[in-house]
Symmetry: C2
Subunit: 618 residues, 2 copies
């Protein structure tokens, strides 16, 4: 025994040493009491131009700005009724596991601020690198303001990488004192998520001309239904004889107090082929809603929570009014009312800024991505299945002017299984530029986004749109189509000058898909009947999904020729041969962006920062 | 004109500022003349236990040590006839493009040292982060010693990540003065590559018992042929009646002066079924070489350049001698003589240390990976095609003792297309441990490597061996087989206690491969005949390779059941059903290792370090 105990064994002593070292570091950090700057004056609103409520009650209000030179976001978080602290952070899709968090907590006497992360089980840990940097805290009549900073990229593998596109913000409210960060039980928190585009593009705003007029398309004092989700439809009408104008800007009009309820709004123009539309005002899914409203789908304006005013580039405007365009507009408002407030009245909508002095170019909207057809399908049980739609060189060669077009904004679109969307511009087989990318795309947050850089597209260029889907919760294949449980992969790009090309999309050649069904049939011992007389969705539904059938479908989509829709409108193709076209080949990919790490002096050590907030309420 | 020139344009001024800032940084760095420690005494050999000549003439000699606590390698480079400097570095496979380099250069007056990198065209650039840290330089009668340090991982994307397994070192000699780093023309350099295992395992060496004897199996003063590559075969014989012993260690014996020529050496034991073997001494590929030598394939010892002595764990030894084992041994030496030296004599070989006091366990060698069969094939034109061989739970359940076996060393093996090899241990569908991995594997450098950690394998465990192949230079499929242009995927693992299991490998089920040929046939419009009467290689050669046929082959290998070889010897299977076995399913992968970045104070700024070496020869 004695002998075995005297064997050299370095592990326990090493651990003791580590623990001791951590302990003294912590003690030292506690002794260095941070003097939090109690600023005399409130920060101006222009310091934090972007604002969004985090919770449906509006108790937490986040404002922020983006510094591209510093590659950092500055946050100002207003906590209206602080209890014993809160969690604020980011995660891949808004979950509380594997999240990157800034935590303010109080044990009832003292308050602390720290950078933390949650593991796959939701357990909180202090981060070894403190990358949420506290800049100040301030008490005001309306609540407590916390100011903190976060670099886009920290090079800490526990941290969220802030990228272009959607960011899922999460919050949680501490309603009881907590002894320590580790003692916080995430699953018992009152919390939620909010989606925003954190990295707003840093573009200059064109001046509005002197003759700018405004028009408000707003709901007529409706009572927001006491249910979680309502799409409200309201029909508006332009004055008779309203001549052609250019919309050059629009902005949201949100009824005060309803900021946390109005999720997104769109103004659509109706189809010109109908002389009149009924004056409907009610839920969009009501049985009594006139069918004709389905012909009001041409987007004039779109806004979502956290978005600001939308400005057209100074050379272009969106035409509305005049002969050949409908006088009827449809306003659609998505009310998100998870707390089921009753009797809230709302007159939100969109304010259009327009001018009679037409700008040099009409702006247009072009649809890129996949044709709405069941031949493009996603097997069930996939965590990230990729489908790609092509706008081919042949189509842009034919349809774009020699001087090219300029894409300045983009709205990505999928149905419920969509998780990522990206469109890349390729020229001579080489990827040149990302048109728009969202690696945390959510079908519940479909903004029109101004691009950081205007993208010039010339005849012969290719626009390749790739969507990633998650079907882990589904038991049968998800086919392309219009249904909410079917899928789409679309990028509506806003560009000028307007061309005849409204739609440049693709889908796999149906003949090759038929060969796939045959192949699956034979490989799987002909146990299933892939009879040609049954529909494509039925054939997809009858496939016994396994890794082979799944992988071969991927291979098919990566190999088979495509049917190209190079259309003037959804029904009229440009002349030419568009069937069995070769897949664009890419010989050179864009390099993966390498995240820049924060420059020296770098992040702070891993210890919570004590905060002098006085005693919080018990 | 005036107007357009007065437009704000910040770019040129910004660039000027940057250039100016860089200039002043450089000047400042030059002013801080580094006092290079001119050490009074030479470093002891034990400071740098590993040594390898870099060039065939032995003008450059690299010694090094590995500090696992610091996660760094310390290099000592002896330059015997310094001209105007040299390049030393690492790259993926020994190429001079995309390399990570330490450069010593002289303009004829002053000398500098710096961390550089070469781009895809071979152009040199000073690295923005200086991670080769110069520790000293020392003149000695035999030449100049440079001492420098490099962390395994620098987190600089331009730097090579030093990992376990093979590292391709490169060197280049500057024969003329150069004005600057950028002026070095890599393509005109005299240079080359040397493969080593830089990260030698940090394992304790067992003591040799008092009765240890040695036996040298060495070439009998042969004249090294004046050709680049020679495999020399020499037959040796154990004394008659030599009883069973345990080899417990072996080491190389390299004739002085030939260190750069003796590339690798192996000692094989011949098959016991033949009573005698001819005493051959000559090239292994000579026409007059007796065929019977092909029956001498059981590895007793293997050494390759840069390797040290090989020690068996103290519980085990490799049995040789005694009844049932052949007295005949074959020594094979690979002479690498690219400068075609003439008349060099050599008596290199291997010195075996053995004992008659048998250790508790006999060591054994087991073959993991793929069966040598053409059903496993790699399409042409692939840059990294993966094939996987399985040692299944069913086989280990049957063949391994309840207490398991301990793998302590491993020799990876492929033919010319092999680029990576890795074996992973999986238990209950979860990957547990890497047995051996080489991400820069070269078929020209097949050492037996001691494992950093002994791997315990129990009944029911799975051993999964994955090989990555490059066939970009080939125009037809590469099938599995014995030929040098056919492929293998093997890991010879050294373990104890020895079991009956000699071979635990797999290959795809031939019936499913036949379905694949049919499928390819039909999908490609039946243009080709996949007639069943022609051989599998012929069927592979006749496939019109495209991404679909390639991808579906991958899918097949990832899906189809396997034929398992769970064998006592290459011909005798364990009893059981081994055909159409399910592929082991992996539910949890090992996480990718996250490289640790060097701790503060961190790397030095991006400027060359002036060195006071006196004037170099012109």
């Amino acid at each position: 025994m004695q002998n075995s105990r005297s064997k050299p064994c370095s592990c326990p002593s090493l651990k003791l040493r580590e623990v001791a070292s951590m302990y003294f570091t912590m003690v030292a950090a506690f002794l260095v009491i941070l003097v939090v700057a109690l600023q005399g004056s409130a920060p101006r609103q222009s310091d934090f131009p972007y604002k969004v409520p985090l919770d449906p009650q509006g108790l937490l209000e986040l404002s922020w700005n983006v510094s591209y030179p510093e590659q950092a976001v500055h946050f100002q978080l207003l906590i209206r009724e602080l209890q014993f602290g809160l969690l604020f952070g980011m995660s891949d899709r808004g979950e509380f596991e594997n999240a990157d968090l800034a935590v303010l907590w109080s044990d009832g006497h003292n308050s602390y601020f720290g950078d933390a992360w949650s593991d796959a089980k939701g357990q909180l840990h202090m981060d070894s690198q403190q990358d949420y940097q506290l800049l100040g805290a301030r008490r005001a009549p309306e609540g407590l303001y916390l100011l903190f900073r976060r670099a886009f990229s920290t090079c800490d593998p526990k941290d969220y990488l802030i990228e272009d596109g959607t960011v899922h913000l999460i919050y949680g409210i501490l309603e009881k004192p907590v002894r320590s960060l580790q003692a916080i039980n995430i699953s018992a928190l009152h919390g939620g998520l909010q989606r925003v585009q954190l990295l707003k593009p840093n573009i200059s705003i064109p001046e509005l001309p002197g003759d700018t007029k405004t028009m408000e398309i707003t709901a007529p004092d409706v009572v927001i239904p006491s249910q979680e989700t309502t799409y409200w439809c309201y029909m508006a009408e332009l004055p008779a004889g309203f001549p052609k104008h250019h919309i050059i800007m629009y902005e949201p009009v949100v009824t005060a107090g309803n900021e946390a309820l109005v999720h997104h709004m769109e103004v659509f123009q109706c189809a010109a082929e109908f002389d009149s539309f009924p004056h409907y005002n009610g839920p969009c899914d009501a049985k009594m809603k006139p069918d004709r409203l389905n012909y009001c789908r041409h987007v004039l304006a779109a806004w979502a929570m956290g978005a600001q005013a939308f400005y057209y580039p100074e050379e272009a405007g969106l035409a509305f009014g005049g002969p050949g365009s409908s006088r009827y507009l449809r306003l659609e408002i998505h009310y998100h009312n998870p707390l089921v407030f009753k009797g809230r009245r709302d007159s939100s909508g969109i304010r259009l800024y327009y001018t009679a002095t037409l700008r040099p170019y009409d702006a247009g909207i072009m649809e890129l991505g996949l044709v709405y057809t069941p031949v493009m399908a996603v097997p069930p049980g996939e965590d990230s299945f990729i489908l790609t739609g092509y706008c081919t060189d042949k189509c842009t060669q034919l349809a774009l002017p020699a001087a090219g077009i300029r894409i300045f904004a983009s709205q990505l679109h999928t149905h419920l299984a969509g998780r990522k969307v990206v469109t890349v511009l390729s020229r001579d087989g080489r990827e040149r530029q990302v048109v728009n990318a969202d690696g945390h795309y959510s079908p519940h947050f479909q903004e029109i986004r101004m691009l950081k850089e205007v993208v010039a597209v010339f005849p012969g260029d290719e626009l390749i749109t790739t969507c990633t889907y998650n079907t882990e919760d589904r038991s049968r294949a998800t086919v392309g189509g219009f249904g909410i449980l079917e899928e789409m992969c679309v990028n509506y790009v806003h560009y000028y000058p307007q061309t005849q090309l409204e739609l440049c999309k693709s889908a796999v050649d149906p003949g090759y898909l038929h060969r796939y069904f045959n192949l699956v049939n034979r490989f799987n011992d002909e146990e299933i009947c892939m009879c040609p007389q049954i529909s494509v969705p039925q054939q997809f539904y009858s496939i016994p999904w396994n890794t082979f059938n799944r992988d071969v479908l991927k291979s098919l989509y990566g190999f088979a020729p495509i049917s190209v829709h190079c259309n003037k409108s959804s029904a009229v193709r440009f002349p030419g041969e568009w069937e069995k076209q070769p897949l664009p080949s890419i010989t050179e990919r864009l390099p993966e962006p390498v995240p820049r790490c924060p420059p020296a002096p770098g992040p702070q050590p891993a210890a919570p920062v004590p905060l002098n907030l006085g005693q919080l309420r018990r």
